[in-house]
């Protein structure tokens, strides 16, 4: 922890993204405020439909927010012109879940990874052919692939190798921030560990800042410094990864953790089962969004929406009755 005076690398304030669905409004992201400090990894967790991917895209303005602001290195990017935004792009990159869909199958890896280098001039102006070749060689080594990979096509690689290629491309322009949306969830278990280790090694070497979006709490615990838990478009808990995952303050976080099937025989016995499904984000419940499934719901929760507030230990929770 550096001093509180240091400005965060990325800061979202009251960020929202609403979609029109017929005559109704789907509040995919609904008033999210959070900050990401330089060099840390913010884990963004929650179930499908909670808005974590949409939030990730809004943070990079890959989706146009409906309201609120995102400041990157102190500059508000939500009101920036397309041109000015384009100049910011090399500083903030994204890695997606589907490693195959993210790569044009008809182009060689060398072309795919070189593309950002050709589009964006480097710090010393436009890169020459040799400059690009040298950078490509450096990038594939960085992500643990042989240089021969540059001559090959995406289908010749396994899922884990393709994700390495996507990471190499995201790093081509030396970004400060990488938003990774479920980057390991499509991979087999034995490959997942390789890619999680790679993310951590790269962070240590290059001083990267990550927003790591995942539904797998074990993976997030491994990689994240801090964790934000989302439910129906809102952050319901935010804090240090160890604090949030070991002593959750929000009943939803607690239920989410307890639902994880651990590879330990007999672990399921201490489970608190949530009933029902996540309600529709088109018509979220009034009061606390989680009250329809909350095991410790009280009368107040049905009418009064809780706000995210400090609950001690550097943790914040949006709950009237946080767990002790």
């Amino acid at each position: 922890m550096t001093g509180a005076a240091e400005a965060p690398l990325l800061e979202a304030r009251d960020l929202s993204k609403h979609y029109r669905v017929g005559r109704q409004v789907l509040r995919a992201v609904d008033g999210v405020s959070l900050a990401v400090r330089a060099g840390e990894t913010l884990g963004l967790v929650g179930e499908s439909g909670c808005g974590k991917s949409t939030l990730g895209r809004c943070l990079l303005r890959l989706a146009e927010p409906s309201g609120g602001t995102v400041a990157f290195e102190g500059t508000d990017i939500t009101r920036m012109s397309e041109r000015a935004l384009r100049r910011m792009r090399p500083r903030m990159q994204m890695v997606f879940q589907d490693s195959y869909a993210a790569l044009n199958p008809r182009r060689r890896i060398g072309d795919l990874v070189a593309e950002p280098l050709r589009v964006h001039p480097g710090p010393d102006g436009r890169r020459g052919r040799d400059g690009i070749a040298a950078r490509l060689a450096e990038l594939v080594r960085l992500v643990g692939l042989p240089e021969t990979a540059l001559q090959r096509y995406p289908h010749e690689f396994s899922g884990g190798q393709r994700q390495r290629i996507n990471i190499a491309r995201a790093l081509a322009l030396s970004p400060a921030l990488v938003v990774a949306d479920e980057p390991v969830s499509a991979l087999d278990v034995s490959i997942q560990a390789q890619i999680v280790n790679l993310f951590m090694d790269l962070q240590a070497r290059l001083g990267l800042t990550y927003v790591f979006i995942a539904h797998d709490l074990s993976v997030v615990r491994q990689i994240a410094t801090r964790v934000a838990v989302m439910y129906l478009g809102a952050v319901v808990e935010l804090g240090g990864a160890d604090a949030v995952l070991h002593a959750p303050a929000h009943p939803y976080t607690a239920a989410l953790i307890s639902a994880v099937p651990e590879p330990v025989v007999g672990a399921a016995s201490r489970r608190t089962l949530l009933t029902g499904d996540v309600p529709s984000p088109i018509a979220p419940p009034p009061g606390c969004r989680f009250h329809t499934r909350c095991p410790v719901v009280q009368a107040r929760c049905r009418t009064e929406p809780p706000v995210l507030r400090d609950v001690g230990g550097g943790q914040q929770a949006a709950c009237h009755f946080p767990l002790g």
Binding site: V189, A255, P261, A268, R271, G276, D277
Partner: protein, 337 residues
Amino acid sequence: MGSEAPLLEVRDLTIALPAGRGGWTRIVEGVSFSIGAGEILGLVGESGSGKSMTALALMGLIDAPGARITGSARYRGQELIGLDRRRMRALRGAEIAMIFQDPMTAMTPVHTIGWQIDEQIRAHRRLSRAGARARTVQLLSEMGVPDPERAAGRYPHQLSGGLRQRAMIAMALSCDPSLLIADEPTTALDVTVQAQILDLLRRLRRDHGSAVLLITHDMGVVAETCDRTMVLYAGTVAERGPTAALFARPAHPYTAGLLDSIPPLRGARPARLPQIAGAPPNPAERPDGCPFQPRCAFGHDACGVRPALVACGAPGDGQAVACVLPSEGRPLPARLA
């Protein structure tokens, strides 16, 4: 399971696909296992390990042109491999049912879920429409579908993923099958819903006495659901045994590696995750010897020959491993105290 004959006994199941020029690619090689009545067996493996193909072969559902299926799979003594279509159809749904990762593969979008479950019941049993519907509603209710009568009148797309999965399980159970084959039934679901469905599968065994073959890639799902576990690697059985023994003392370096590579949810956070190098081999390029050898930290000369499945662990508990290490007198250390 004592002296009782198993419900399903699979011996030396091999599935090969034509690879051109008269060659064959073996997707599944010599897989043997059995399931007792009311038992939950976990079939774990990564993509391409052959776990889904094994299940499809048992159900007579492999439709790849020219596929060659050899070996034996006896259900209550009846051979399933090569069984004619009509008799297979009578067995399927009534005796052996299957559920899939994506409920939409098992359901048609053009009929209500009630209609589809009614039809399944009436295909196997002489029941009136009203009688079938009453059973459908009862099943949906047992599966924890709220307001089951109304849910029966809805189309699959009108239900959430969790409810669709419950409806599919209700359909699979409509004729009280003795064996349920569940292929990644919770992979597409969120963890809180997954926990509900796994709870449901465990209840099934208790309330209906159904045996379950649970196919999954998730060691956590196995740990909390399965009595016994079989680990497949590259189309072969790497290891099998009682779940508790297999997790405490994995005998195959692949099983141990899989367990180690899962980041822990509790306790100390490792600086680096133990990882297995490389990736599983392409079915057409599997090595002659132990298929795991190229990725194995213990690989040595003896691994050039395909290892047989040999008993290991506590005598009589049924743990067996396809690895030379135990017979060389240097088994892997126990994982858990």
